[in-house]
């Protein structure tokens, strides 16, 4: 579905990965044959993974990202009119972790704060919500969008090699401002496929069915306690629905593929990024894969592409940046944004 948002810009991006960067080869030893591990690394492109120590949460990493951003760019805390926290791995069942972050950051009571339970498509959903909310706030107010997941310990089944070799922990935040430079309205294309929710979901832990424990600790041997994936179904979805969604958006915007300066896609793995690039007929140099030392960091993977570019982002032509998040839901969310004036901080390591 095509959606309109009033003009906004991403002013600053900050991202945090774990201070533990583990080599996939070592981390996966014993979970598959050496040959299979080597082949998987070659195809996924992930050499190292950002894995937090158990107990470190998405909000902990978001907090560091936001603090660095506020301090470095001298941003008035009172100018933040909304805090959106997009994550599948909140601190508590309730309330929204956005309130926890509000408290830790010392943000004013004059704020709209809430969580959004979304994974890989979540960053783009967050931009859409941020854009809509921004237009309802006073003119000098900003929206703080936080996102990410810590999946490696309590979310994906790390005993399953295919999940272990790619899942990573990461968080990011972006500051959204009204765009007064006359770039015009922004259009999103968001498609949701609830009919496929079983393809990728966590059966236990909600009100339908609690997580099971053994002697008071989470039962690692019950696969229902972790995300279950119908791999081929998810691949089919990605290869079919993502290009369709993007092509609809591009043709609505009346631009050509050659007009796209750069593509920031969610980073499930290198092989899928390459397949998407080929299916879309997009030129190779425009589709970035730059998560080889992070892994698949869920909703943080797109903003982490910007912080991995860091200072170097300035050298990219970035008037028409195609951004697309896809996965858990299932859902695909895409947008074309002008990121010419976006300041990208360099990726930070988590400081315990």
């Amino acid at each position: 579905m095509l959606l309109k948002s009033y003009p906004f810009k991403i002013s600053i991006v900050a991202g945090v990965v774990s201070n533990q960067s583990v080599s996939v080869e070592e981390y996966c030893r014993g979970y598959a044959s050496e040959k299979k591990i080597a082949r998987t690394i070659r195809e996924t492109g992930f050499k190292k993974l950002s894995i937090v120590k158990p107990g470190i949460t998405t909000a902990d990493m978001c907090f560091q990202a936001v603090r660095a951003m506020l301090d470095n760019y001298d941003i008035d805390k009172n100018s933040i009119g909304a805090l959106i926290f997009v994550s599948q791995t909140p601190d508590y069942i309730a309330p929204s972790t956005a309130f926890v972050l509000q408290k830790k950051l010392g943000l004013s009571h004059d704020i709209v704060a809430f969580d959004v339970n979304l994974g890989c498509p979540g960053f783009v959903y967050g931009l859409y919500l941020g854009g809509i909310i921004l237009s309802s706030l006073a003119e000098n107010k900003k929206v703080l969008l936080c996102c990410g997941d810590v999946s490696s310990h309590y979310f994906v089944n790390s005993t399953v090699f295919a999940a272990r070799a790619i899942s990573a922990d990461g968080a990011a935040c972006v500051l959204l401002d009204r765009d007064s430079e006359g770039n015009g309205n922004i259009f999103f294309n968001i498609d949701s496929y609830g009919d496929k929710f079983h393809s990728l979901y966590v059966p236990n832990g909600g009100m339908k069915s609690p997580r099971t424990t053994v002697d008071g600790v989470l039962d690692q041997n019950n696969p229902d306690n972790f995300s279950m994936m119908d791999g081929l179904e998810v691949l089919n979805f990605t290869l079919d629905e993502v290009p369709k969604n993007i092509e609809t958006l591009i043709s609505f915007l009346k631009i050509k593929k050659e007009d796209i300066d750069v593509c920031l896609f969610h980073q499930p793995n290198h092989q899928l990024i390459k397949a998407l690039q080929e299916n879309l007929g997009m030129s190779k140099d425009k589709v970035i894969f730059n998560s080889q030392n992070i892994g698949n960091a869920s909703s943080a993977s797109i903003p982490l592409l910007l912080t991995e570019a860091g200072d170097g982002w300035k050298s990219y032509k970035s008037k028409n940046v195609l951004i697309s998040g896809f996965g858990m839901g299932m859902a695909v969310a895409s947008v074309v944004l002008n990121l010419d004036s976006t300041v990208c901080m360099n990726t930070m390591k988590y400081v315990p």
């Binding site: 996924t44 081929l232 691949l235 089919n236 290869l239 080929e278």
Partner: protein, 72 residues
């Protein structure tokens, strides 16, 4: 593509050391996994100049079934 060339390409794609014939069951080839699946779809796109229905690949049971998709 003839059968011999196809098997050679498939063996390269899966990076397998097993003996593969047209009648090999995909279920029994350890390397026929999601990585090979995506590589195979890409190979089809390259060879045919168009995308094939992933569902057809998913339904394939033997190497011959895959061969038929490439040669349709």
């Amino acid at each position: 593509m003839n059968e011999h060339d196809f098997i050679e390409q498939l063996v390269n794609l899966m990076d397998t050391e097993e003996d593969i014939s047209m009648d090999s069951s995909l279920e029994n080839i350890e390397e026929w996994d999601s990585l090979s699946y995506v590589s195979f779809l890409a190979m089809c796109t390259k060879h045919l100049g168009r995308r094939v229905e992933p569902q057809k690949v998913r339904e394939a049971k033997t190497v011959r079934d895959l061969y038929e998709i490439v040669n349709e």
